[in-house]
């Protein structure tokens, strides 16, 4: 197992392949509404998203615009579905201005330093030739797109919107790839910033405030969510905040988040979002009191258990790969002495754990004497739940034997 897991990209490739396979299976459901070729054609468009997930640590920043455009196009393509179109519009309104503002920040930095290369920019700025006004304005702007793409609060709404409104074959891959490229953005834009201490101080301060807001805002929002899909979306947003926490202590080093050798964060995000996002669509809106279990549990208890495992893992419940990931991040924060962020992480974890357990209890519901509905949940849906849950279990076992998400 160790030999296998130490191979670069093994986790991210396997998880992405499974995610794409699930998307492909779910697309077959669409063939009833459209023809086979038209229904399956988005699979080709999903491949670049998969590529970004596999090589998130290496891709250029221009990919952020490409991935955003691709996701918006895939959302806008389905004109029959009002939620899809609405999502496309929202993404357009949020992500495009964020990218534009950050690009403006990048251009301002280039203007101030005379070079577009990040490492050279820090070296030039360290010379102190220019007034700090320009670069100290440009630097926070240049990081904005990364935070928005990660879906960290207060920009967490788009993640929940996509998980609720987008088709199940698109939502997990879209969210995971946008988050991965967001992490890559922050990673690339702060690479080598320690060579320029004044800039490192501003970047560090901004990241610390953003992480605190992301964790506390995500935790507070999660507690209020009633739709299972939005709960999963907000959990994904907290997952993005986790990536920010990892980078907080060491600017310019995303470490286990984007490291292809471990691929921990990316692999976990893809699988957990696939399973949890799928299950969430089969569950009723929470009413605050107990009710009869949903059909999926009454007909297919074992598959539901696998889906719940994905939800629990996304929430960082102990015994799941997600729990291990949260623990690693907490260790990083304690290691780098970020006590307040650690406290915020604890609050976010408690909120996520509580909501996940509430979701579990709501899914199991109360026993009833009535027989479950005769119709089965579609086989591809069950297969998706099973693949994601089993994939996460294998990932957890691999981490146990291989020393965790750091590899």
């Amino acid at each position: 197992m160790n030999g296998l897991t130490s191979h670069p990209y093994v986790f991210s490739v396997s998880a992405t392949a499974l995610g794409l396979a699930c998307a492909g299976m779910l697309l077959t459901q669409e063939t009833r509404r459209a023809g086979w070729a038209r229904a399956m054609s988005p699979l080709v468009a999903l491949l670049p998203l998969g590529l970004v997930l596999i090589a998130a640590g290496q891709v250029q920043l221009a990919w952020a615009a490409l991935v955003t455009a691709l996701v918006i196009a895939l959302l806008a393509r389905n004109e029959d579905d009002p939620l899809h179109s609405e999502n496309a519009l929202k993404m357009l309104w949020v992500l495009v201005p964020a990218l534009a503002l950050s690009w403006a920040g990048l251009e301002l930095l280039t203007l101030a330093t005379g070079t577009a290369y990040v490492q050279e920019q820090w070296a030039v700025l360290q010379l102190g030739l220019d007034q700090p006004f320009l670069w100290s304005t440009a630097l926070p702007l240049s990081l904005l797109a990364g935070i928005v793409l990660l879906g960290a609060a207060p920009f967490h709404f788009w993640v929940a919107d996509v998980m609720q409104g987008a088709r199940p074959w698109l939502a997990p891959l879209a969210v995971a790839s946008l988050q991965a490229i967001g992490a890559r953005w922050l990673d690339a834009r702060t690479a080598g910033i320690e060579a320029f201490p004044a800039g490192a101080t501003i970047a560090q301060g901004l990241m610390e405030i953003a992480t605190l807001v992301a964790l506390i805002g995500g935790a507070a929002t999660l507690a209020m969510q009633r739709h299972p899909e939005r709960r999963v979306g907000t959990l994904a947003s907290l997952n993005g905040a986790l990536a920010m926490c990892t980078m907080l202590g060491r600017p310019g080093s995303a470490g286990p988040v984007l490291d292809p050798a471990s691929g921990g964060w990316v692999a976990h995000t893809v699988l957990a979002l696939t399973g949890a996002g799928m299950l969430a669509r089969l569950l009723p809106v929470s009413t605050g009191s107990v009710s009869i279990a949903p059909t999926v549990y009454r007909r297919h208890p074992f598959v539901t258990a696998l889906g719940l495992y994905s939800v629990l893992s996304l929430a960082g419940v102990p015994g799941t790969p997600g729990g291990r990931l949260w623990l690693e991040v907490a260790r990083d924060l304690a290691d780098s002495g970020h006590s307040w962020t650690l406290l915020a992480l604890v609050i976010a974890w408690l909120s996520a754990f509580t909501v996940a357990m509430r979701q579990l209890r709501e899914t199991l519901g109360v026993p009833t004497r009535f027989a479950p509905p005769s119709a089965n949940v579609p086989a591809v849906v069950r297969a998706t739940l099973a693949i994601a849950g089993t994939g996460l279990a294998v990932l957890g076992i691999a981490w146990i034997s291989g020393g965790g998400p750091r590899g």
């Binding site: 519009l89 309104w93 949020v94 630097l139 209020m224 907490a330 290691d335 002495g337």
Partner: protein, 477 residues
Amino acid sequence: MRMIFTIDRWRAFRPDARHLGGALCGLGLAMLWIPSLLATAFGAELLAAAFWVWARATESPREQVARWSWLRRPAQALWLAAAIQILVPELMRTGIGRGGAVELLRWMQAGAVVWAGLELLAALPLSRPFSDLPGPLLAIRPWLPAILPAAGFILLWRHQEEWIGIARVRDIAAVLFLLTAWLAALRAFGRLQWLVSLRWLLISDSALAGVLVAQRVVRPEVSMLLWLGACGGRTFMLASELRSAAPRRGPVISTLWRAAGWLSSTCLSWPILLALGFGEHAHAAFALAVVFPVVLSTWVIVSRLEEAPERRMMMRPTPPLTLGHLAALLTLVIGPLGLITAARGGFQAAWPGAPLAFLPALLSGVAATVVLGWRRRAAGITADAPSVIVDPAQSPERLDAVHRLAALERVSERLRAGSRTLFRWITGFERRIVEQLARLGQTLISPMHDLHTGDAQEYLLLLVGLSLLALVVPLLQ
């Protein structure tokens, strides 16, 4: 067809709620004894799951599930403590953890363990009144809540090293223990039903034992023995009440249980009063505050344990020595055994502290015995013709007894009503504070809710606002 077969097979294997809950509860309680916090957290989660399994299978699942849903909070707190237990030693070993972060983690761990223990002990306003109501499992409903304070004490006792070292957490816990002992004793006195009173006595005694642990009065094994003597006996009595009030069937066993309850209360309170009143770190106000619950709980256990009236037409033959007799004898022995162990372990008692510390429980028990005897005599005299108008010229003694009994009942009822009012006032005040805090929290986080209205324009406005902030922040530097 194959799927239907699978579901049927699954149903056939699925245990019923009663057995599943019992297994989860048993396993959970067993895991609380394991030193690892991870196991303890899992145990608390299983305990919460057991109550949930029972609650969802009742005839009123909505009400029962909501009533016992708070049990997840202690489990949640323990998961946090367990995560910190995994983190801190590694940070200490590698030496990479900064002092502030490690201190914060230790503080959070102590707080989490104490929170879990206090909540199970009904020492926090959030879950205070659970002992007023029966549990969710029909067969043992009145008894079931009794396991929660026991679980709370076991948890706090087993993991005392995690919280006793943090002075602020320990002091807050000690104050909350004391407040809980007061309130529980008040409630035990105020409630008319013997079963409910017993449940509250369990909480009062467990809270007093918590003071014993928090103040490090005696060695851990002694505090466990003293708690076991007091609460073990009450728990057995509570369980036996469900079997035709067995501890009150006959004069011998009821006297035995009364003596056992009195002695165990005395043994539990003696080291606390001695240490707080006359020890090295004596605290007069704290010691005086302990006297009230000791007096009240001893009074309740001695005066309220009355022989059950025999209503059966035909007596069943009962053996002279039953399990109830043995349990009462064991309860009688455990308390003194704990004190002997304490003395052998170096616990010292000096004049005049040693006899004075016995006084509250002793005097309360004596007074309760006197009043009990008096009430019995009066009841015995009036039993012949309770409803007949008594002629004062013919039977002045009987008239006097009737008057005395009526006066006693009046005083007793007024005191009970007073204690009920006081309990309701204090818990109502607590509840109002919690509600206000919750309302404040909701007000603070309501802007988060507004972000989910779904209007795309709001998203853009937010983005523009934050971008402006990003531009302004450097200017302010």
